[in-house]
């Protein structure tokens, strides 16, 4: 029997792909509400990367926990080994030691590693006012590896140039990063179709792999900028064990699927999860 799962959802595949980007010993941060990223951290920690340390809210070095919707901040806090408020986290981790990976979701991303979490259209009178970048404008350049994840890989998301540069990788190649005092590392966009990677300033993103069942043309046709597509392999599938851990241990309520739901479906999906959570409490 193959070690790979025969059946899995696209959300699970992306979650496992993000987990595989985590290396043992990494320091990771949970920004705002990103259940997929958090499931990835926990999966990495209980499988191939037991020495990683993650921050969630004010909890330093949180323990792995079963992900729920209503109580996940409480769970992250309860298992932590220290409490640092936001200023302490920023001064110590972002500006100090350096965070290795923090998956960031944005409205648009482009061929230069720029992300837009601010506006679509004109800045003064936008068609869509987004939430803003929080600390991303300052920290995406500092992370060892810049990781963007996109549940909906289209030309509207992966654009030639973002409408507004909320944050940017700023220096890309090994030499330029080292010279600027930044740790070298790639930019990766993990999407529902493929994994795209960029390592050099003047070399376009390369299709690192396409997900099972996706054609290279599909990726090219849905991307708003030039891609290198040479001998593209298939993305490694989740293993049976990874899928079992996701479904039975870490994420029994299916929180990883949340980002993949449309805006309209989300509140209904949350209501269902909440009902199950309260039922499990015997309330």
């Amino acid at each position: 029997m193959s070690q790979y799962a025969e059946e899995y959802t696209i959300a699970e595949l992306v979650c496992v792909a993000v987990a595989r980007e985590v290396e043992d010993g990494d320091i990771l941060i949970l920004g705002s509400f990103t259940p997929l990223a958090f499931v990835s951290y926990i999966l990495a920690k209980i499988t191939h990367a037991p020495n990683i340390m993650y921050m969630a809210y004010s909890s330093v070095d949180a323990m792995p926990f079963k992900l729920t919707f209503a109580s996940y901040e409480a769970a992250a806090t309860k298992g932590g080994l220290a409490r640092w408020n936001m200023t302490e986290c920023i001064n110590s981790l972002y500006l100090g030691t350096g965070v290795d990976v923090e998956p960031i979701s944005s409205i648009q991303a482009d061929q230069y590693g720029n992300i837009n979490i601010s506006v679509v259209g004109d800045y003064q009178k936008p068609m869509l006012r987004g939430p803003g970048g929080a600390g991303a404008p300052e920290v995406v350049k500092m992370h060892r590896k810049m990781l963007g994840y996109f549940p909906n890989h289209t030309k509207r998301t992966l654009v030639p140039k973002v409408d507004f540069i909320t944050g940017t990788r700023w220096r890309i190649g090994r030499e330029a990063r080292t010279k600027a005092g930044l740790r070298p590392g790639p930019i990766k966009y993990i999407t529902n179709l493929a994994i795209l990677t960029k390592e050099e300033e003047n070399v376009p993103f390369r299709i690192e792999s396409v997900h099972p069942g996706v054609k290279v043309e599909d990726v090219i046709n849905n991307t708003g900028f030039e891609l290198i597509a040479k001998d593209v392999p298939e993305t490694e599938k989740p293993t049976r064990e990874q899928i079992r851990l996701l479904r039975e241990v870490i994420d029994p309520y299916g929180m990883v699927a949340f980002d993949f739901k449309s805006g309209k479906e989300r509140l209904g999906y949350l209501r269902d999860i909440l009902n199950k959570e309260v039922e499990a409490l015997g309330y």
């Binding site: 729920t68 409480a74 806090t77 991303a136 404008p137 540069i165 409490l281």
Partner: protein, 303 residues
């Protein structure tokens, strides 16, 4: 100049007393972060008291900012992030900006924190490796200045001290002299308290000083920064106050649905805000529901 110390011993006030410290047109910094520990009871009281034309500063805002913007209290907003996260984009914030009805400064998160830190240290600016390449810098060149390190020559970004008139904060516990304990998720509330001219803190409970002394390491804001403490149980609701209670996802769903249009948002304000805090807590589900939020904060499964 550093702000004056507040040394009187009894700082206990009522919600209705906030008008003594917050005036129309003030620059108000709001504590908490994400959907955690926002001073929601104080915000509801600002709306009830009809305080207007505020210049509001938030680092990571959510329903706190959306509610104030929707209720018409805010003239200008400085923020790095405002989102209802799982519950979608903040409807009032979006409407106000997309229609051009709100003046705003989108300042990157670390820069706002550094601005508070500079004010707290009594210095005019702080340098760091800023948001190089971000369009936020072009939008607000008066806030971001490039300077050269006098020692190494390295190019740095300097941001100015941010000095709010008032900081509003929610915490777990205080004594009557305003010694503030924060246990769970903390934004940059200490830095807000250091930077602001006046500081109002709502707390889950006001306790005798001896109780504070039992766990001094939980004290995050010493009393000389604090002007007024107000006991407001569930004062962060519908945001969380970990470890006491989780955020209220049921009410957040209600909020995001009712804030979706100006008409239903007006109903929301009538139904939930323009009442006493006791009536508010009853309206959101009463004791049984609030106890569920406490239980959800206690019973979590670590692996």
């Amino acid at each position: 100049m550093k702000k004056e110390r507040v040394l009187n011993q009894n700082k206990v006030g009522k919600l209705s007393d906030i008008t003594k410290l917050i005036k129309d047109g003030d620059r108000v910094a709001v504590g908490g972060a994400w959907l955690s520990s926002h001073p929601m009871a104080l915000i509801r009281q600002i709306i009830r008291s009809g305080i207007k034309n505020l210049s509001v500063i938030t680092i990571l805002g959510s329903v706190d900012i959306d509610l104030m913007v929707g209720a018409g209290c805010v003239d200008r907003l400085m923020f790095s992030f405002v989102s209802l996260e799982a519950y979608g984009l903040p409807p009032n914030f979006r409407r106000a900006i997309e229609k051009g009805n709100l003046k705003y400064d989108e300042i990157t998160g670390l820069a706002i924190i550094l601005g508070f830190e500079a004010a707290g240290r009594g210095i005019p600016f702080l340098p760091y490796r800023g948001p190089f390449g971000s369009d936020c810098v072009q939008q607000r060149p008066e806030f971001y200045k490039t300077i050269k390190c006098p020692f190494t020559g390295e190019e740095m970004v300097a941001v100015p001290a941010i000095k709010p008139d008032v900081a509003i904060i929610h915490a777990q516990r205080s004594d009557s002299s305003g010694t503030i304990q924060i246990e769970g998720t903390g934004g940059s509330d200490l830095e807000l308290a250091k930077a602001a001219e006046r500081v109002i803190v709502s707390v889950e409970e006001i306790v005798p000083t001896e109780i504070i002394r039992e766990n001094p390491y939980k004290t995050k804001i010493p009393r000389f920064y604090v002007d007024m403490v107000i006991e407001a149980p569930f004062g962060a609701h519908p945001t969380s106050s970990i470890p006491t209670y989780v955020g209220d996802p049921w009410h957040m769903i209600t909020y995001s649905e009712m804030a979706a249009s100006p008409e239903t948002f007006r109903q929301y304000v009538e139904q939930y805000v323009m009442r006493s805090e006791d009536e508010y807590l009853e309206a959101v589900g009463g004791l049984k529901h609030l106890n569920l939020l406490k239980k959800l904060a206690r019973e979590v499964k670590l692996l």
